[in-house]
């Protein structure tokens, strides 16, 4: 009993003697940037993932040849060199030549060379996963000399420089092959370590909890202020908000529309909001009756009250999409009229198509967030007004394969463009080549649209491309395989003392920490 008392007294008193260390602790805190993430990371190997939630450590630890120019929170459509000093289209009209900057070094001190560029891209192609799909026209990468590299393409591709600016298109130190297991191209090792030339490097990773990054001593752009970055996974929205409110995280990812207004009112917190091209849509299975019938698709489209969803479910933190291409993308037509709800026309069209009242359909979706759930419930409610009975089927992420395989009536689609170009949206959501797995969820197939999209993909003339995409957009709008519900706004909250943040709402989760600082500590 006495021993217990002593132990208790020790536990309660000893630590408080340490108050003198508080200054050191608070200084360490000032120079630590803590980013609260809404989901855990699965891998940080650039060759294997295209998931945005995996990008942060990648973009801080590696460098790409090119990066997007960002102005006022959105990409301008232009790119600038990160590792590349200059680049140009080769004389064959389809290959690209890059000259590397001097003196960019990996975190072991070795130089970034053309050979490393070649190694990285061939590795990605050989792994054949998500990032390789984005490089599908790439035939070979040649290191012409130490600083010159040529990307040989099968066909002209006007968007190739934009693709090279995507986060997974980084240059990896070829010495990682020392960690190769079997013939995995060091995949196991790179899934949780980094070997790049970026300003930071991954120092430790507690899976599902946090990733800690520390400066890369050899980086060309060494961090100006923050000596430690913590990417902290806090899945629970309320806990994450609590941490932001108390200043235990500096940057808050995953602001949901229903909390945005409250976050904006928090003292000491800034809410950043910009439109993005992330479109949430109701996709109809155009290969399954009765959705093969354009009248049925039109009826469903007219029965949906987009404005009510945008205000009731997304609380105004979304923009209506009147066409196919959202604002900010060439080919977007700001003069298109808003699609207004018209229940009587919807009912008439359904009757014309021979759909009896109270016919039941199933809406299959992955309940990824409260917003998705509420959207599904709202659709169910609104379609009931048109006499349709919608059964909601929630799917586990792995069970979404069923939708990709075409076994569904209605589903919710969530698709985006990473850069201001019609290609990512038109090519994937509407080209019949990409039906299902490629994310043309409604399995829309129209030979004329296919032809226009294929021509646009290789047209090097910007005006010609835009015209082709505009033409395709008009056909798609007339046939309406998907009901574009809204384009979400990019939302990010951060403490007011975090300065110098240059954020790109189109590419969430990527930060310029190396040039950021805290409060008045401007370096």
């Amino acid at each position: 009993m006495r021993l217990l008392g002593i132990a208790l007294a020790f536990m309660l008193s000893a630590p408080w003697l340490a108050a003198c260390d508080d200054d050191a602790v608070s200084q360490a805190r000032r120079q630590t940037l803590i980013i609260g993430k809404a989901s855990g990371l699965s891998t940080i190997d650039p060759g294997t993932t295209v998931m945005a939630y995996n990008f942060a450590p990648m973009s801080l630890s590696y460098e790409r040849l090119l990066r997007f120019v960002v102005a006022d929170g959105s990409p301008t459509g232009a790119v600038e060199g990160e590792l590349a000093e200059s680049w140009r289209l080769d004389d064959d009209g389809k290959s690209w030549l890059f000259t590397l900057k001097q003196n960019h070094r990996f975190d072991d001190g070795s130089l970034v060379t053309a050979a490393a560029v070649r190694f990285s891209f061939l590795r990605t192609l050989r792994l054949g996963l998500g990032p390789a799909q984005a490089l599908s026209g790439l035939e070979d990468v040649e290191a012409i000399d130490a600083r010159t590299v040529r990307f040989r393409l099968a066909a002209p591709s006007p968007i190739f420089p934009l693709i090279l600016a995507l986060p997974p298109m980084v240059v990896i130190n070829p010495t990682v092959l020392a960690h190769q297991k079997g013939d995995d191209l060091a995949r196991a090792w790179l899934s949780e370590h980094t070997a790049g030339s970026g300003p930071y490097r991954v120092a430790s990773w507690e899976r599902g909890q946090r990733i800690v990054l520390k400066p890369n001593p050899y980086a060309a752009e060494t961090p100006r202020y923050f000596q430690k970055i913590v990417l902290k996974t806090v899945k629970d929205n309320a806990s994450r908000r609590l941490l932001l409110e108390r200043g235990d995280i500096d940057i808050f990812e995953g602001v949901t529309p229903d909390m945005a207004d409250k976050v904006a009112q928090m003292s000491g917190v800034v809410l950043f909001e910009r439109p993005t091209p992330v479109i949430v849509a109701l996709a109809m299975n155009t290969t399954r009756a009765p959705f093969t019938d354009i009248r049925v698709r039109k009826a469903i489209s007219l029965a949906i009250d987009r404005r009510a969803i945008a205000s009731g479910v997304v609380h105004g933190h979304a923009s209506l999409v009147n066409g196919v291409l959202p604002a900010g993308i060439p080919g977007h037509d700001p003069d298109l009229p808003e699609v207004l709800r018209d229940l009587s026309t919807a009912r008439a069209l359904l009757k014309e198509a021979g759909i009896a009242p109270r016919t039941a359909f199933t809406l299959s979706y992955v309940p990824a967030s409260a917003t998705v759930d509420s959207t599904a419930l709202a659709i169910q409610n609104q379609l009931a007004d048109a006499g349709l009975k919608i059964r909601l089927e929630t799917l586990a992420p792995s069970a979404f394969a069923k939708v990709l395989a075409g076994d569904f009536d209605l589903t919710l689609s969530n698709w985006s463009a990473d850069f201001p170009d019609p290609w990512p949206i038109m090519q994937f959501a509407y080209h019949s080549l990409n039906a299902g797995e490629g994310y043309n969820l409604s399995r829309y197939a129209n030979a004329e649209v296919d032809g226009l999209l294929t021509r646009a993909e290789h047209a090097m003339d910007a005006e010609e491309r835009t015209a082709l995409y505009e033409q395709a957009q008009r056909i798609v709008m007339a046939e309406e395989p998907m009901v574009n519900l809204f384009a979400v706004h990019g939302l990010l909250a951060y403490r007011t003392d975090v300065r110098g943040l240059r954020y790109n709402a189109w590419q969430p989760g990527i930060y310029n920490v190396e040039s950021m600082y805290r409060g008045d500590d401007a370096p």
Binding site: M1, W16, A18, V25, I34, G128, S191, R246, A399, E437
Partner: protein
């Protein structure tokens, strides 16, 4: 002889538990709707690659052969690799286990302290209002859902009052002490990092308190009941009558005897704490085995789930065995097979 018999029984029991746990989890993992080979080969793998993966995993063998292979590997200490991270699951689990153990031991400490002190106090004032109140509180303690209590404590002490840290084992700005025992508090104390020690203790308090509040009730009830019984024994009455101070009698004589039945439930209590920690860890984002296994459950990472269940079940049997030995040591009369 009897003791030896008991040890043999326990070892057999251990074996049976391992067999049973592995069999159950093995059967569950083979009822999955998804195909593990597909899962490991990646979503875009062709049928050839999947077939290759299937062969590599031994999934093309009949079920009993697969089970035999699993047991065979298990005997060599090989629990397999995680489907998610491809790393040995035993190593992943070992890396986070100190965090869970630190939390559980702290909770156990709080809960035993509360249980013993309040239990004795209630027993001494048997039948009084204080006694009734303590009993009611103890019963309420075991009636409150731990996940709810944790949420509310977090909201009050961190969110509203701001006097305790929120989640995790340590402030993010601090670097954990160099690993010696794996317990942040102990490591920090051994290395003289007082700021870290203080911070780690503050982080421990809320999750440990949550676990303790829902488990001290059970301990309190047992202590109280056996204290009442012991206090009514003749030798205690005689001792008090013979002028030995009441305090001394209660703590030195009575409590010692009342603790005997209490020791027997410690094993059970430890198990309850471990399962409680799965939920509590997720609320306080405690980077321990509970959080790990929950992630594994959602990812259907069965090698990890199986490793966790086997280790925990074995630990349960071993702890109960240790408690038995302890019990025999305290109370030499009991030497029969239970």
């Amino acid at each position: 002889m009897m003791a030896l018999n008991r040890i043999v029984w326990r070892l057999l029991m251990l074996l049976a538990v391992v067999l049973c746990v592995t069999l159950i989890t093995f059967v569950i993992s083979h009822q999955l709707p998804g195909d593990p080979a597909q899962l490991m080969a990646g979503p875009r793998a062709g049928p050839e690659a999947i077939e290759k993966m299937r062969a590599a995993l031994g999934l093309d063998q009949p079920l009993h052969a697969q089970y035999a292979r699993y047991l065979h590997d298990l005997l060599q200490g090989d629990f397999g690799a995680s489907i998610v991270t491809q790393r040995p699951v035993l190593r992943e689990l070992a890396a986070v286990f100190p965090a869970t153990l630190e939390l559980m031991l702290t909770a156990l400490f709080i809960s035993v302290t509360l249980g013993v002190i309040l239990g004795v106090a209630a027993a001494v004032r048997h039948g009084s209002w204080f006694d009734h109140f303590i009993r009611a509180a103890a019963t309420f303690g075991i009636s409150v859902p731990s996940f709810w209590l944790g949420l509310m404590l977090l909201l009050i002490f961190y969110g509203q009052l701001g006097i305790l840290p929120g989640v995790g084992r340590l402030d993010d700005a601090l670097d954990p002490p160099a690993a010696m025992t794996g317990f942040y508090t102990l490591d920090a104390a051994l290395q003289g990092q007082w700021a870290v020690l203080r911070n780690a203790l503050e982080h421990l308090l809320l999750p440990a308190l949550t676990l303790a509040l829902v488990s001290f009730g059970g301990m309190l009830r047992i202590i109280r009941a056996s204290m009442i019984e012991v206090l009514s024994e003749d030798y205690i009455r005689t001792a008090i009558a013979s002028g030995i101070p009441r305090r001394t009698v209660i703590f030195n004589h009575a409590l010692r005897n009342a603790l005997i039945p209490f020791v027997t439930v410690l094993g059970l209590e430890f198990a309850a704490l471990l399962f409680g920690s799965v939920v509590v860890e997720t609320i306080f984002m405690w980077p321990g085995a509970g959080s790990l296994v929950l992630e594994a459950i959602f990812a259907l990472d069965f090698p990890m789930i199986m490793c966790f269940t086997v280790i925990v079940s074995m630990a349960y049997v071993i702890i109960n065995f240790a408690v038995d030995l302890l019990y025999m040591a305290i109370n030499p009369q009991i030497r029969e097979i239970g």
